[in-house]
């Protein structure tokens, strides 16, 4: 075990996968200097054929990722901030998500589109989105939202080895939370959720950046006798709701916490599944703690007002555990 921060865990996954398979190539803007630190040292280790700085040309880069993957490489494209996925959206939505299907299953597209997502640093509206919901809606791409360093590493390794395109989004900018990461070659299975904490009173499902504050709140509430079960879905696509539904049979109460905007979010999908398949277990309405349908503002008090945090998670849990029907 090593104690790593999110960004270091990503770096070690990239290093290990590039060493393991010479077909893995990495490119993106300033991946040599590495704005966030996650691609640091890779150019020195793997050389200019496999690690390339590119011009600022997202429309081209996402399309090139599709072409290089179709022609036999495992491509990791670093898009820096998740908002720049929008800039390069066309080839993700119209090519990567559809090419295999449209061509009758002829090709495999092993691509990881990676970026740093989320707010909290006053980076304002064009550098703070958590856009996983819109990729969920494409159908043809996996979506990874790891919430811990161990998962950041294990999920990235799985995504690189997988033959499908993956949108891989991590929060935390240049650092992120620290956590224990296994030294061995551990991959995190695709589409498998995880019970991060057992409990009996309420189920909380945090997504990506919300895992850590949720666990902190759960710990705190345990001292008061409120027993919180935390299910981390890890992958938004394929979305594994089995543990969530199982947990509901025990708790009957559900809060989904997501740093994406509310409308058509991952939280609304999970809430819909709970209402549909977990209906008979529910003792209270399903709550979605999300970002209101707004752009992320710059000034700290404004940003705090729109982003979910530990305080809001705690308030939602308290409200739901004391909820009495009728």
């Amino acid at each position: 075990m090593a104690r790593l921060r999110m960004i270091q865990a990503i770096n070690s996954a990239l290093r290990e996968e590039m060493a393991r398979d010479p077909k893995v190539i990495l490119f993106g803007e300033d991946v040599r200097m590495s704005l966030f630190g996650d691609t640091k040292g890779l150019f020195e280790e793997f050389g200019p054929d496999r690690v390339r700085d590119t011009p600022i040309s997202e429309v081209l880069l996402t399309g090139m990722a599709v072409g290089a993957a179709a022609a036999g490489y495992r491509v990791v494209l670093h898009l820096m901030y998740a908002n720049f996925l929008y800039t390069g959206f066309d080839a993700i939505a119209n090519q990567a998500a559809k090419l295999r299907y449209m061509t009758g299953g002829q090709i495999k597209l092993p691509i990881v589109f990676m970026a740093s997502c989320g707010g909290g640093r006053s980076s304002a509206a064009q550098h703070s989105d958590s856009p996983h919901p819109m990729f969920m809606n494409l159908g043809g791409v996996h979506v990874a939202t790891p919430g811990t360093p161990a998962d950041a590493k294990g999920m990235l390794k799985s995504a690189i080895r997988d033959d499908n395109p993956t949108i891989y989004l991590t929060a935390g900018g240049r650092g992120g939370s620290a956590g224990d990461v296994p030294d061995e070659d551990v991959t995190t299975p695709i589409g498998v959720s995880f019970c991060a904490r057992e409990g009996t009173d309420i189920t909380v499902v945090p997504i990506g950046s919300m895992v850590r504050p949720t666990l902190t709140v759960a710990e705190r509430l345990a001292k008061e006798g409120i027993s919180v079960e935390v299910i981390d879905p890890r992958w938004m696509v394929p979305l594994d709701t089995s543990l969530i539904l199982k947990s509901l049979t025990k708790t009957g109460r559900l809060v989904v916490v997501d740093e994406a905007r509310d409308l058509c979010s991952a939280a609304s999908q999970i809430a819909a599944v709970a209402a549909d398949q977990g209906f008979s277990d529910l003792k209270a309405p399903v709550r979605r703690l999300t970002v209101p349908d707004l752009a992320i503002p710059y000034s700290p008090p404004l940003e705090r007002a729109v982003l979910p945090d530990a305080e809001k998670i705690e308030a939602s849990i308290r409200e739901l555990v004391s909820y009495k029907a009728g």
């Binding site: 300033d30 040309s57 710059y298 404004l302």
Partner: protein, 324 residues
């Protein structure tokens, strides 16, 4: 101003404009490094002659779009310095009420469509504003300021194609400072940028972006073409940013990405010093220039003090302004 020589008053007002940008940003740089400013800050120090040289040919009715490095364009086009400072401090009194910060300063009442966090994002917006200006038929024009890095976004070529076909009053001002973040232009940009315009039949010029007069004259020709319905112009201004890409970069970069000697050489070619030297050659006295510098220093001091004392936005304000 476009076809005559500049009067002493005009020259001094240009000096004032360049010094305002410089001093405000020196203050912002210091505040950013000491952690007072909430978000990332990209300063324009060393490139002032470009924004001021172009904007000195414009009126409030013309449009500009800018970049992540947008304070200089905002101020040169007549944006209020204190309102800029307060925005970057995140205060309620900022030009965007604290919603945008450094990368989104805008003042539509002065034709400033605004800074932009998306590299290349402003180019298409300026092209649209140029279309509107053409439809209005009042001789307005639109200017897209963007970097050498942004010139590698396909939209730059797409904009030139449409602007050339439709004879839009668009001026593409590419500020070639030799770097896209930490990448040298030689590693990410092929050919000569101003040559890209030739392929579309768009008249283009390369100018010394650190020489106010050269920028100003080229801007005069481009603006005249635009106002006369002769279509777009591409200007490549060779310049240099004397500070880092972002003020916090020393805290996270593993190593330097440019030679100190290179920065020093460009510091010798400081556009404001060069302009001051020109003025000192028989146009204005050292005292006159110093008086301007002191006047601006007082303005900066006042704006910063006000910004620090002004209220933070009410959290409820976060819920306003999504839709008209």
């Amino acid at each position: 101003m476009s076809n005559k020589n500049l009067s002493k008053d005009e020259l001094l007002s240009i000096y004032r404009s360049m010094v305002t940008i410089r001093q405000f940003e020196e203050r912002l740089s210091a505040e950013s490094k000491s952690g007072i400013l909430p978000g990332p800050v990209h300063v324009y120090i060393g490139q002032e002659a470009v924004a001021v040289g172009i904007c000195a040919q414009l009126t409030d009715d013309d449009w500009i779009t800018s970049t992540h490095r947008g304070h200089g364009h905002f101020l040169a086009k007549g944006g209020t310095p204190a309102a800029l400072m307060k925005e970057i401090y995140g205060r309620e009194t900022g030009i965007c009420g604290g919603k945008g910060g450094s990368m989104h300063v805008a003042d539509f009442s002065r034709g400033i469509i605004g800074a932009n966090g998306i590299v290349g994002g402003g180019i298409a917006l300026a092209t649209g504003a140029a279309l509107a200006a053409q439809l209005d038929g009042k001789g307005r024009c639109a200017i897209a300021f963007f970097g050498d890095g942004a010139a590698n976004q396909g939209v730059m070529c797409e904009a030139m194609n449409v602007a050339a076909l439709w004879k839009l009053p668009l001026i593409l001002v590419c500020e070639n400072n030799g770097y896209s973040e930490f990448s040298k232009a030689a590693d990410v940009t092929a050919g000569v940028l101003s040559d890209r315009a030739k392929a579309y039949g768009v008249p283009s010029e390369q100018v010394d972006g650190n020489d106010f007069m050269e920028v100003w004259r080229a801007a005069g020709r481009a603006v005249a073409r635009a106002r006369n319905g002769e279509g777009p112009t591409f200007l490549e201004a060779r310049t240099y940013r004397l500070h880092g890409h972002v003020e916090s970069e020393h805290t996270f970069l593993p190593k330097a990405y440019r030679e100190e000697s290179e920065v020093e050489a460009w510091r010798e070619r400081d556009p404001i010093k060069a302009f001051a030297a020109m003025l000192s050659d028989g146009i204005a006295s050292a005292q006159e220039l110093e008086a301007i510098e002191q006047e601006i220093a007082a303005l900066v001091e006042e704006a910063a003090a006000e910004a620090a004392a002004d209220p933070w936005p009410d959290p409820e304000a976060a819920f306003k302004h999504m839709f008209a």
